[in-house]
Amino acid sequence: MSILANKDTHVVIQGGAAGLNAARRMAEFRYMIKQPLNVKAFVYPPDTGKMNEVTYGSGLLTIPVYKSVAEATSKHPEINTSLVYIGADRACAGGMEALNDPKIQLVSMITEGVPEKDAKLLARHAIKLGKTFNGPSSIGIISAGACRLGVIGGAFDNLVACKLYREGSFGVITKSGGLSNEIIWICSQFADGISTAIGIGGDAYPGTDYVTYLEKFEQDPQTKAVVIVGEMGGDLEERAAEWYGAKKRRVKLLAVVSGFCQESLPKGMKFGHAGAKEGMKGEGSARSKSDALKEAGAIVPDTFGALGPAIKQVYEDLVKSGQVRPIPELSPADVPKLPKTVEEGMKAGDVMVAPLIKTTISDDRGDEPCYDGYPASELINKGYEIPHVIGLLWDKRLISKQEAEIIKRIMMLSADHGPCVSAALTTIVAACAGIGLSQAVAAGLIMIGPRFGGAVTDAGRYFKYAVDNRMTVDDFLAHMKKNVGPVPGIGHRVKSVRNPDKRVKELVSYIKGLGIPAPHLDFALAVEKVTSAKKENLILNVDGTMAAVLVDIGFPVDSLNGFFILSRTIGLIGHWVDQKRQESRLIRLFDYLVNYAAPKRREVPPLK
């Protein structure tokens, strides 16, 4: 047996994320005692109609979210308890809604910072209806082996360590959430554990006080003793003392009260919970409470630390008098365990997982990313630059200073080529249509292909093929004509021998000036000599030049288009930002720029 929360408690949780977290904790408890989850519904209007996911053991339960408590209890008539996790400004209305539901008998409010007046109104309303209102600021209620309401009891390991999977003989009532857990632990170490532990909340006027719960414990045959953890302020402890002293009680009462430090502090300085405020003329002080409890016959140790031995003494007396029979400990194999998560299992070496993807270039698992094993910050601090990062991530090697300089120049030359080219125009049209940065830039990038900017990879591939196979220019051109078609990297829409591309000249003369071996560039230039003699615009274009140079410095053929994509992205972002800055309006093509070659307007024949 236990009080307030038991095997027949069925719960609706009012609230959002905090309520869901509580449900998950409650599911851990129910899994530990091998009982189905007792949270039947949530009430949270913004999520009406959704299903909340709650892990239970190794499975996943879905619990419906309703708009109102009435809807929840009509769909789940077994509900008799509500936990309120609603924000302080709406807590009163939420609590009233639950109290007014005929099915609900117990409302426990976890919300902190509820105005005093609201708490009093809720308490009065509950008394009128003959129901129980617990809290606000309650950590929860837990009955060992039966029911957990809220997060009281902490993590799963702690539930097990405190033997909350089976009933003990000690009732607990505390204002403090943290100390409720501490007392539960002490009861499990120095005695046989708890029957029920209740957090009544640390507010000045808890909805239900010690006396009401002491009366319930007194009626509960399982509970042999009750531990109260009190605080200075108010008169709840005095009332408890009065109750205990009024007549012979079946339960033993143990109590500690905090706030003695107040006596040696500057006047008016108050600590701890809202309820822990010094009363007038010594009333409500820790000393007066402690004295009242002692006089009433309660066991009141001088310090919190002495509470454990005092509980042990009471327990041993109960065993001696035959009122309590010691509970045999579970064998280690029978101690409840929560299924491990995959992460925990892997850490413990218990499971083997086949990876879904494999990466060979970067690792994000430390405090900073590593590129091919090198920490980003170390690269920065040792003077490496963007081209080196490209080398690491695209070709898994730390390129030389000279190679980095070549890549930098390639990128600078191809970063942009004005608004008229396919990619920039597309990005601008998109920007003017109000499309966001990433989509507009992506639209521009889509234009990069065989006819625009996307010939670098193919050019590199064929130049490499020719050089690897020691082909002559004539053999190469014949091979291309027969098997491929126009030579990628050769030819330009507007540039020609007489109107050369300055970018190509720049790059070629830089490489030549370095005096490094450049077999692919040499070959490409030799090809140009032949093709441009045939037709003026069949010159080595910027794609072809980049391709030859990049193959010369060892970049893999498949990465080559990347250099153009990366460089041109700089320009496309610029175009998008530029349009945005100008607040450009939607644009459309003028019809005089279209050759309307569609059939003239004609009559639609009757549908046959």
Binding site: G140, G154, G178, E182, W185, E263, M269, F304
Partner: protein
């Protein structure tokens, strides 16, 4: 509980129809001169000047001056502003009209478990404190309002009669309306006086304690709360309050000058037991602190920094019960970061650190604390098997 100074307190009472003297709150002599020109009553009548600070015994300190004319009030304002009393600097003076009267009365409304008590007495000022049996009480259930008849009966019980009884009942009714409407926890008017001439009841002095938790429904509470212990908040305390207002969970910090045992415990309940243990073992608290409700690690780091900055400390008590949901590893991460920072600033020389804690991820958190030994910290770490306050016993034995 939030204490409100006289100025805003009287403003709230006036809002609910209670007569209060005309008053101005000024923070400079120039401001007073300007207001004097704009307000007829300042130029003509007799005035009272009081330091507008959360100070007790203002009269004894010479921070209340009565019966002043305009020149006298100007002088008083000039003299009081900038006066240093303990840690408080007088930064505001309230100047109000002096209300000529003969008799003084007492009225208050006080929050009780069931609702509220309305208190009246037919004596006021210091007299009421020595004649507490003359204070009569009407207890009300929350959600109810006292009827005019009930209030008149109360006034008569307190010794008022005739029209004065009706007036007192009306005054108490308005005071209750103010209490209820403003989510007050305590309102006291002492004295209530009958103004010479028209005999109207006027509230001369107000003690106002509001329920800070109800601020969400009072957008017109545009005033600052006053510190409740007779001194201004220190900069460190204000820093922690600023952090507290920004986070989920809470961090709290109050300095106690002259102590040598610094507190950095978790939880509103356990923290007080730790403080009690220090006092019980003859230690002197250097502060009160608390973090609870799984606060962000950076917030705990700020709190740690403040604790480590306390002067003359010998021990730091990092105590805590077995947490329900506060992540021990995460919050200890904030404390450890704070300790390292303090150490790098040379703050923790000769300071012993005592740790006891349980809760989610307790092992990881405690292991991380223990590892600080290798960084040269004098740190002693215990888990749930050591009773809550035993670290205080150990700390204070060793330092003796």
């Amino acid at each position: 509980m939030a204490k409100v100074l006289e100025g805003p307190g009287m403003g709230l009472m006036r809002k609910w129809g209670i007569s209060v003297p005309s008053y101005v709150v000024v923070s400079s002599a120039e401001q007073f001169d300007q207001l004097a020109q704009a307000n007829d009553w300042i130029q003509r009548g007799k005035l009272v000047a009081k330091a507008h600070e959360a100070l007790g015994s203002r009269f004894k300190l010479g921070l209340v001056k009565v019966g002043l004319d305009l020149a006298g009030a100007k002088a008083a304002v000039r003299e009081m502003l900038g006066r240093q009393v303990g840690s408080i600097t007088v930064s505001q003076v309230i100047v109000s009209e002096m209300v000529p009267h003969k008799d003084e009365y007492y009225a208050a409304v006080k929050s009780t478990r069931e609702g509220a008590d309305v208190l009246v007495a037919n004596c006021g000022g210091i007299e009421v404190e020595s004649n507490w049996d003359r204070v009569k009480r009407l207890s009300l259930e929350v959600g109810t309002t006292p009827s005019p008849d009930a209030l008149e009966k109360l006034a008569k019980e307190a010794g008022f009669s005739g029209t004065l009884a009706k007036q007192v009942a009306d005054f108490a009714g308005k005071l209750f309306a103010c209490f209820d409407g403003e989510d007050a926890q305590y309102l006291e008017v002492n004295p209530v006086v009958a103004r010479e001439g028209d005999g109207a009841l006027v509230a001369l002095d107000a003690v106002t304690l509001l329920d800070a938790d109800a601020k969400f429904r009072h957008p017109d509470w545009n005033f600052q709360y006053a510190a409740e212990f007779g001194r201004a908040y220190t900069q460190h305390e204000l820093d922690v309050m600023a952090v507290d207002s920004k986070i989920k969970g809470s961090v709290k910090f109050i300095e106690i000058p002259g102590g040598d045992t610094a507190m950095l415990p978790a939880g509103g309940g356990a923290s007080v037991y730790y403080s009690d243990a220090v006092v019980a073992r003859g230690g002197k608290l250097a502060n009160y602190a608390e973090y609870s409700g799984d606060p962000a690690d950076w917030a705990v780091e700020v709190l740690t920094d403040k604790v480590c900055s306390l002067p003359g400390i010998k021990n730091i008590i990092v105590g805590g019960a077995i947490a329900n949901f506060t992540d021990v590893k995460k919050t200890f991460g904030g404390i450890i970061a704070g300790f390292r920072k303090a150490k790098s600033e040379g703050k923790l020389n000769g300071v012993k650190i005592w740790v006891r804690r349980g809760g989610p991820r307790e092992k990881e958190g405690l292991d991380a604390m223990r590892a600080l030994r290798e960084e040269g910290f004098d740190i002693h770490v215990y888990d749930r098997h050591t009773p809550l306050t035993d670290i205080v016993d150990m700390a204070l034995q060793k330092s003796k």
